[in-house]
Assembly symmetry: C5
Homo-oligomer: 358 residues x 5
């Protein structure tokens, strides 16, 4: 994942401008779904047109418009007109890569969240934008795969106890909850990677381990930057006294808030682990360097004197003079020298053994 | 202890869902005990059935239901129905590995705590969940051994002054106090390990020491992550103005709070010590490397010139020419060369001695 | 960019003193522009004289005096007299290199901002000073190039939706917004540099990489120091309850505030990345050192014994004695010695292979 | 000083339990002194019995009971009964090694402080516990030597201006002040040790220096842990609005508070110095390693080619063939080779000099 | 500058004691000046006696007593009596080396500041103590050179706009402002030193560079410790609602406050730079170590095999056996061996070139 992922208009552009910033590579096909429900019934329009959404009026307890994929400026403009969405909010929906935040406008809540996705061993972040209006939720997800499918299944009354409260604010909470809880499986994966790296570190560390640790640190850093503001998002929602969110829903949001705290603490702990692993890596490298050095020192220290002695008796001094290398003429000269060599060697080995080097 | 120990439902599951998450390896047999007491009498039912608990009504001042082991979803469901326990709380009881927290629902307090356990040289955390209702405490402990046995002994009027106040809120405090105070013996063990490691570090450090320091750091990190939220738990209980906890109990809870602070400060100090030990380890390794290097340099520097001189006079130049190696023909050539060698050697040794290398 | 860029009078000078501090190298030519607008019309005076500004009175909804370049003390003095600007504020306009800050005087807002500029691979900071009075904005920019040209284009009713609200406070917001948003392209450039450095680091690190990382860290540090106080500036403006800024503008300022937070978080993440890169660099250097060492050790360990053996049989002991080097007279002496050498070599290579050194 | 010095009862013990925790080695003989004073007179009972204290009633303005040494549970129990001291407080007096804290019970103040003592080059902490009641101060000191002797001298009207206000709360302040001010001489000693270590570091660092730095860091860490909570103790006393402490005394306590802040800042600065010293130590070690390496490289690089050349002409090729080593037969072969050697050597030395290695 | 510079009485001394602590070396001659002024006139008594000061009464708008040098206890005592100065404050004036602080007594403000002085390449701190009473300022400066001379010049109506408001509180502000603003030239000097060190670091780092960085870090640390509390001093003055300081002066004090913040931020940035420089230094050392190692490895790896080959053919096996060293008898034996050597050498050089070592 790149370090800088925000999309922005050139400085000085009018705020609320809805023209596409052209980074065409990220475009994803668009699909709008519409869903209407009461305590006891549910109406789905899985592939709605823009007109369907705009002309949509209903007296059911809650409606949900979900826009999947990269939205076009015209679509946003039309939705904004139809439902009175704030211009600054729409600009943030368009320019993905925003920092998660919650904004409370008059009569509407707007939340941007980051959905961390682990795909093909690569971490990326997909922007989720959520509007809460009176009896209406509008959600945008710029990425592959619809994270809200389980919610839809629950609304249809399928498994897992269904939907506790069939109101727009509960739906709003449920969508936020899904995005936040996707952090847990991701952290489980990362936790396993850290433990694998730790094993590798203790058994057979190499330059690859180093690069892996660096990549891990980078991912944890980016993940932390992404997820940290979620805490603030929930804080804003919990603090706000607005009739759009009933007091009973606050309890659920507080549970959500606890999850973000838990995730942040895990991330902090992972970061500490990664830092500690780097220290251990460096220490292991130093240790191995030391071991190499020791071996080299032992070898050099053992053989250098021996080679010198051998060289000494390889000199060609004129034996005519009795002063020149008489040892060469001794009867037991060679065995004596070899004995000296063996003694030197044993002395060396003994010395190193006493120093715990062998 | 693993890095990631939380159990969770897949994202998008209805909050409050009570289906077991299958990590069967951790299952522990279930045992429920029931205890009823007044100022002057106490009734115990050490092996109660679920029905006993549910049908249990009493006009005594306080009742205590303790569930030891991994609870089944059905049990939790039934208890929740019988006593009006909140669904989110029950889900947290089921999905162990939760972050400690205190939750105040209407007419009930709910606290999750982590009980750090040191077993077979391995640190693990067992979840303790505590409900406080009107004249009733329900506690869950997912782990081996019952940490609340001393409380039961005190209630029975045994040694150590018995039980100061025979009310449910005092019992609630006493259970929290036990879990927090178990941190002290653990920290004492860790403190001794740190001091042992320090001795090892100064006397005979090796790769094993490094791994031990890493393990220690990891344990301190995990322990800190576990125990840090206890502070917040007690904060919530101290702040709450609710008739469930009488003002007189606050004094005891504040004492408890001081203990968590003391434990956290000790942990911080330990972490600083561990970080400092790693630095010292790295320095020692560098020092040893330096020493090896010095020996190697001394040996090489001493013998290389000597070997060169020996090699010089081992050359086979044709002695017919008077210009070629006349030294070989000198009467005292050999002694002269040996003298030169000895002088070189003494010069080297003197040089190194002046440099404080020998 | 230098570490210390503030200009100051000698300690003890009267506050509000408007004499030039002579650092003449930084002088830039002065140009004043005057702009007057209502909902539907706009009057521009692109090259106004000081007299134009001072004598300027208008009943349009908003006027804007922009001073581009290094202002002279006399100019500031005259402007201060004409519009009642505070002496301390004018001193700060003159002594550039001030820390960004917002000051609320009676009936006037004063904001100093730092505009980070990346020119010729060099980071520098240009001071922007902004006064907001009743229906009047006075802006100063000490640097090259006018950052406010896009605003002027929008006021003229050109592209990009024009100007939402034609009031002085909206203009004030728009100017602040431009300066802050210039951080994003800068951060994009820095983000790319970091990623380039990361690639270089993994592929071919050298002393140049180290110096680049150091320069990067330094720039991030300076940038952070410059931009950090912007957060506080916006905080002051958001907190202030004054009729100079209408409540509707606060929403826009809050958007601005979110941008400063986003920028600071990116900077923090970059700093963490840079720190991590330095660690990886150091580790790589250690790794290479280790590899060199290993090669040296392998070579030395392999050849030293062989050279010793060769030296041994180069000794010149007197072969007359049967005890002296009888091996030299053996029929297969030479092949035997060579065989021993080959065996030693193979043993060494095998040993190193088992140790994963080859 | 050990890392873990707290004494505690096993988890689950009734709070307020007053049974001795047996660490007999630390027992110190007990001595109780009783002191009664008014504006103009003073009564001392330097060796009072328990009965004296309990039966003690007085209408003087202030009384002071000081218990020196390790108190027995029975004594504490009796004092608690006689003066209505809180059970939790008495338990903390008994179990020394507590974290400093201030507790405000109804009608009594209770303060635990740590008195840092530097004895025989060893740092230790002695617990001081102070009760303030109506017109009565009860103090406990578990350690050697009575730190409150100067107070007694001042009360007796001796030198140094005597006692400003002859009330119990002023006495309470004076006792706290003594314990806190004992930090200054200790910090002066530590400051000198740091400066000595710095000199040693720059002149002649070794493994001993490393161990000294580690010990210093450890002591600073422990000292900080001990003294940090004093700040909070004074905060509690300053905040509390209680008739036991008159407003006029607050001014003195604020002075005390400033001293704790000063001490903590000094400690932080010392810790930074110690960390910086460790860095310098590591750098010095690296520098020396580098120097050794350089010497080795110079020696090896200079002699290896020479030795090779010497070895070359030590080969025994059959001179019968005119292709084999004709140099050996040249008239000036030997001088030529020696000249080559000298040239190589001079070249090497020149190269190293250009590289600033010699 | 020493680490511990505070002067203190032995613990247990009565607070407010005014006896000299004998560190005679620091004594500086005493000089008292007296200054009286109104809107339009000014009376100076440059060398006043103690009696002049005490008997001094005046109905002018403001008086200023300045005591330059180390004050004697008697002088302080007399001043304290005459003007009702608080005993604790006077003790702090006497015991220099105090932590900067602001104290608000009834009817008097007392401020201690630290004036950082850079003299002969050495950093030191001189204590400035300032009392503000009704229409009277009393200032003490323990050090060389009078920092307040510019103020006096301004009061005399000299250059630089004179004195804005001729009241005691404005004078009080002006004195504080002078002391704080002296930080800027000091920081400019330090900034230049850092940039010089950076250049040295990139070009030619050595042990001297390391010691300089350490000294710099130490100075920054001490400076930070000194100047940090100034922030708090100004906070106290800004917060205080007292008739001694008129609201109009607050604006000036806020400007002062901004300067302290600016200074602290510069100091923090400098500290970060210094830390980063140490990292770069360590990396450079590692890099050079690596380069040395590489050279050594190249030399050893190139010459060791050659020397071995030379040694091989220096063996003296009996050529009578056709198996022994037949190469020596070959016609082209020598050229062949030299060719082999050259090939080995070229191979080595090629290998190292491919590895980017040459």
């Amino acid at each position: 994942m790149g370090l800088f992922t925000k999309r922005y208009h050139p400085p000085g552009t009018t705020p609320g401008t809805l023209t596409a910033v052209t980074r065409t590579s990220e475009q994803r096909p668009l699909r709008i779904s519409l869903l209407d429900y009461d305590e006891d019934r549910i109406t789905e329009l899985p592939d709605a047109s823009l007109a369907d959404c705009i002309s949509h009026t209903s007296d059911s307890k809650a409606s949900w418009i979900h826009v999947q994929g990269t939205p076009e400026p015209e679509l946003l403009h039309a939705l904004g007109e139809a439902f009175g969405l704030h211009g600054l909010a729409l600009e943030d929906v368009l320019n993905s890569g925003q920092r998660p935040k919650a904004e409370v406008y008059d009569g509407q809540f707007f939340v941007i969240m980051g959905r961390p996705v682990w795909r093909d061993g690569e971490l990326s972040m997909e922007q989720v934008s959520l509007f809460l209006l009176e009896r209406l939720v509008i959600s945008f997800h710029q990425g592959e795969g619809d994270p809200f499918e389980p919610i839809r299944r629950r609304l249809r009354g399928a498994s897992n106890g269904g939907f506790n409260q069939r109101t727009a604010d509960y739906l709003y909470y449920a969508l936020i909850d899904v995005v936040i809880d996707e952090g847990f499986p991701l952290l489980e994966i990362l936790g396993e990677r850290i433990e694998d790296l730790e094993d590798e570190l203790l058994e057979n560390p190499g330059q690859g381990t180093l690069n892996d640790i660096h990549r891990l640190k980078r991912e944890l850093l980016l993940l932390r930057r992404m997820l940290w503001p979620h805490r603030e998002v929930l804080n804003v929602l919990l603090r706000e006294e607005d009739r759009l969110i009933q007091p009973g829903i606050k309890l659920y949001l507080r549970d959500c808030y606890d999850h973000t705290i838990h995730i942040m603490e895990l991330l902090e702990a992972y970061r500490d682990m990664a830092a500690s692993m780097l220290d251990v890596y460096l220490s292991s490298v130093s240790n191995r360097l030391n071991e190499n050095m020791r071996i080299l020192t032992v070898i050099a220290t053992t053989f250098m004197p021996l080679t010198f002695i051998a060289g000494l008796y390889g000199m060609n001094f004129d034996r005519a003079s009795p002063w020149n290398m008489p040892e060469l003429g001794w009867r037991y000269g060679y065995p004596a020298v070899v004995t000296v060599m063996v003694v030197v060697m044993i002395g060396m080995v003994g010395y190193f053994r006493r120093k715990d080097w062998l």
